[in-house]
Subunit: 420 residues, 2 copies
């Protein structure tokens, strides 16, 4: 007898996202949930309780990723569902969290239907996707594939000076160990991530769901300028080696360079600035800023990177300021697996959900996983394209539509015998 | 019998400046001595001990200025000798301190000679000259003339959130009350301040001493920009309202405006920058910066101010960013008293010390006092023109020469019967 399909619950999705939003360091000023912080641990406990309630086997890997496994009839190859729950400072409630809640919802509905997967299904909550707690993006997903050394994890520090490794170990102690620490590509059939779009495209074109074709790569830097501190009143303009003047010209130069860049999805951002000693009546001797550049095409990103750094170098040379460039994070643009994309589109059509094929300007854990494992991403719209801010919002009805595609794709993948 | 003149002691000047430099919050990283801070109190105690040892009557005014009085035969009009001992963050050892030590040295030598002044001589150490502790320049000197209300003093806060008034009261409790709280112009003959030049002019022209003709005025602002925080990867360039991009263009615009400004002594500085939320992968929704503009001519400063603010306004309009401009400090350019200048030059000639007549690009307490009282300033060279930084240095021999002029001018002024 064929079991009736259970539709993902809009109400439950809405409630759970809202619950998680209460685990927040800065209530009333956007959501701040640094990786491994108190609210992060509280949110994790909330999620583990739900997932254990669904009968999943849970634990935390040595890299601080949360894993919940729904055993299949065979013990491999598995299907990964994943996203993250860390936030940028003063960010929103939907980035990452939506994907985690949608994955749980999909599993919960399949379970209710009495569905039995042949392959195991693993929900992974990757740690430190944003990179704003330990200064490095996508740490959990990279580490899960052995792409970051333990030494590097020990060197990444949060604001309190605690290392990533130390915090991940503490986090593991709270929740216990999972079935596996490393994702093994040969034992994995596919990865699926639902995420908010974080831009205006779906809204403008009036789609509830997008299927991601490719994910932008991002290079992040901390760039430091050194000049000479001096008196702001008594030092004539021509004698100055003003680090902040160099900073200003660099910001303008970066904007000019990205404007000339021919790739429509290339972007560049200076999101953080500071100077030293930082008083109104002192010419700053030092200044520093972050630079984040992105493109969906590898060759375009390389050109952009070269042009940016050359422009900044020329500005500082002209001003006799010294320059130090440190790359803090790097991810490569990636085209997502054709087979998974076709499957997602097929499922969408079966369920009468129109989808838009589109690139992702934002970087995701899926970009790292996709280097080794067939990966698909489902986008749902962001209201007014706002993200990484308190105004971030996605309609629960749209999430439910995306979740339906996610759920039905899990079903197909977890039964298929044709690959591997 | 004519008493032999006592020359100021180079060794003692050197030692005392060096002693005061040990009262410092940031040893090894320049001198940081915020107004009324622990090291400020320790330095004050050091100075009061010396001045009391010389038989001066000491105390702290209700505005936190230190006063030490050498009684004259008549009790008015008095002669003021003054400077300051607060420092900018990570500043130098000579700014302000040199003038205080030179004033004490001049009094000490005159006393040793057995000199008896007709007029009283008051050494004043003005509080919060720099404006980097409470965000407002020249507070002590302005307050001493009734140019700042008690209400304003209660509203100025330091980093710990303590008000200027509260801190000044505590400071007064430690050292007791002086002979007067307010400087009364009708009871004051003149003000003299020796100060380090903080620029390269004396060194380049090979003079040990300068006589200041006029002092630049300074306008200081905190300027805040508001845009819209958003995702640094997913938000296309054309949809951004990036506060840091506005900041960059403002810094460049300020530099262009000062370059076009026709006055050779006009300067403009952005010494402090910040943004919010300040993460590499978030387009900043807010940015702010300090703006300090100066000129020695009042009309030029007014033109400069108008042009600067108009330039910044146009940039933000074009970018659809909102703008908030707050003036935090203001001082007016001033031409120093002809009579006192002539007297200083005459004394220099009598003592065979060549002097350069020159304007001051830096602002000083003397600029406030000069609005009401005949005022003179003596400059001594700054090595390589460096100031407001740890490399700040002035040769003790040069200070001794300046101090000789100071001392002999005090003698003349404290005996003259021709004015007032």
């Amino acid at each position: 007898m064929k079991q009736k399909k259970v539709r993902p619950s809009k109400t439950r999705i809405e409630e759970r996202i809202s619950e998680i939003s209460t685990f927040n360091l800065t209530p009333g000023q956007g959501t701040t949930r640094p990786t491994f912080s108190e609210p992060y641990i509280a949110a994790s406990k909330y999620l583990f309780d739900i997932m254990e309630g669904l009968g999943l086997e849970t634990g935390v890997t040595c890299h601080g990723n949360m894993i919940a496994t729904w055993e299949g009839e065979n013990n491999q190859p598995g299907i990964l569902l994943g996203s993250h729950i860390d936030s940028v400072p003063h960010g929103g409630n939907y980035d990452g969290v939506t994907g985690v809640i949608a994955a749980i919802e999909a599993v919960q509905c399949l379970k209710k239907e009495g569905f039995k997967p042949l392959k195991p299904v693993h929900i992974i909550v990757f740690a430190e996707e944003e990179g704003t707690t330990f200064g490095h993006m996508l740490v959990g997903s990279k580490a899960s594939l052995g792409q970051i050394t333990q030494k590097k994890l020990a060197s990444l520090k949060n604001k309190e000076g605690k290392s990533y490794l130390e915090c991940a170990e503490k986090f593991q102690k709270i929740f216990g160990k999972p079935l596996f620490d490393y994702i093994r590509p040969e034992m994995t059939r596919a990865m699926l991530e639902l995420h908010v779009e974080q831009s205006v495209v779906l809204e403008e074109k009036n789609f509830q769901v997008g299927i991601v074709t490719e994910i932008a790569g991002a290079q992040e830097y901390i760039i430091s300028i050194k000049g000479l501190a001096n008196h702001a009143g008594a030092t004539p303009m021509k004698f100055r080696l003003d680090a902040v003047a160099g900073l200003g010209e660099a910001i303008v130069g970066i904007e000019k360079t990205i404007t000339k860049h021919k790739s429509p999805l290339g972007v560049a951002t200076v999101g953080s600035v500071s100077c030293f000693p930082g008083a109104a009546n002192i010419i700053a001797g030092e200044a520093s800023f972050s630079l984040d550049i992105r493109d969906v095409k590898k060759e375009n990103l390389e050109i952009l990177e070269r042009n940016m750094l050359s422009k900044i170098g020329k500005i500082m040379d002209k001003r006799n300021l010294s320059l130090e460039i440190n790359r803090t994070s790097s991810s490569i643009p990636i085209v997502l697996d054709e087979g998974i994309r076709s499957l997602l589109e097929e499922v969408a059509e079966d369920n009468n959900i129109p989808v838009l094929k589109m690139p992702s300007g934002a970087v995701h854990d899926s970009a790292e996983i996709a280097r080794f494992i067939p990966t698909g991403m489902i986008f749902v719209p962001s209201k007014n394209g706002r993200s990484h801010c308190s105004e971030e919002y996605t309609n629960a009805e749209d999430i439910t539509q995306g979740c339906t595609i996610l759920k039905e794709t899990i079903r197909k993948l977890s039964l298929d015998q044709i690959f591997k």
